[in-house]
Symmetry: C2
Subunit: 217 residues, 2 copies
């Protein structure tokens, strides 16, 4: 049985984890027979009202909100040890660019949460697969850019150019497909980087990526 860590960043695409991406990941990993544990950093953030897209006027915490997706089964990322897992997966959503890093405002000059950075470096060093979805590949690129990893965030040329400033390479990809950098064991799929994607397209891109990731793990 392959053991897979999933790193969340809240609950909701505008201030946390993109929910359909996270749930697709959990459904597919369970279908593939993997043993999954969820983690998240404990970061306070300003909640965004997803209905009218204004400030919600509340502070929330990314670990506590992630527990909504994980049905309370989530641990602080400080407890994520590379030796306990065969692979790690990062779903997307603005939380990856706001709570796991400050990519949303700084782009390729982003600071990456030090625990997130530690996890990516440790899995990479141990030659264990790293999966990243939507905007999360930018976080992986920032940490592993100097090693010229290849990732995709779909076909958004502005974000792709920003990713290439880290040293990483960007490869275009359709919503229901994925890119596999087999040399570095980095697998990425664009998901809701295509804003008008259908849930089933997002699910299929993630599913295809995870089939290879679990086999590789």
């Amino acid at each position: 049985v392959k053991k897979i860590a999933v790193v969340l960043s809240g609950c909701g695409y505008l201030d946390g984890t993109e929910i359909t991406e996270a749930v697709s990941t959990l459904i597919c990993l369970s279908e593939l027979g993997a043993d999954v544990k969820c983690f998240a950093p404990s970061v306070e953030f300003q909640a965004f009202n997803h209905f009218d897209k204004t400030d919600a006027g509340q502070t929330r915490n990314s670990l506590i909100e992630s527990a909504r997706i994980a049905r309370s089964e989530v641990s602080n990322i400080t407890e994520l040890k590379e030796k306990d897992f065969d692979a790690v997966v990062f779903p997307g959503g603005f939380g990856a660019a706001k709570n796991l890093s400050d990519w949303a405002t700084k782009g390729s000059a982003a600071y990456i949460n030090k625990e997130v950075s530690r996890v990516i470096r440790q899995f990479h060093k141990a030659i264990k697969p790293i999966g990243a979805i939507c905007i999360a590949p930018a976080v992986v690129a920032k940490v592993l850019g100097e090693e010229n990893v290849t990732v995709t965030i779909g076909e958004d040329t502005v974000t792709a150019a920003e990713i290439e400033k880290t040293g990483a390479r960007h490869s275009k990809c359709a919503v229901d497909d994925y890119i596999s950098d087999r040399d570095h064991k980095v697998l990425t799929t664009p998901a809701y980087m295509y804003e008008n994607a259908k849930p089933s397209e997002v699910f299929n891109g993630i599913r295809r990526m995870l089939i290879e990731l679990v086999e590789m793990a």
Copy 2:
């Protein structure tokens, strides 16, 4: 193209919609080629901390929180007109028993949100399918109990007995299966009424139910 309304009640299994059930519904309906719109009532509720299972000390709103699952594309249930849709689906989670009704505290004596009650009665009168997941079948049973509809919430005998007090019949069902009351066009699947269900089992039960619901719609 079949038009399906999905009624949410927040975002998180302890105070809103069960997220895996809602996302499974959206993925499967999109895979089946249906045209989906999400709705929720606008109800203030005490948020529950899903990490340590205590009161979160914040008031939230079920319509605003539902927008997290629906990527901002959700309307007030007051705008849900039966004539615009071919079927309606209610995912579960405590939100169905707390925000769509007070079943969580009152059981078969529950008050059902008047808009939720209106929607169920209108779809039933128009002989259009009603799907309900997890604890949501209890809400449907309460509204349509006098017509002896058959529903499932799995195998929890206490809840099943409470449902039968409404006049509805309860039928046992496995997590990855569903019950179809074809006379009344009421389709139900237990999902996370089995607390330790795997995400893929929940997905498969919902998927099987929705295949029949879309065909019937």
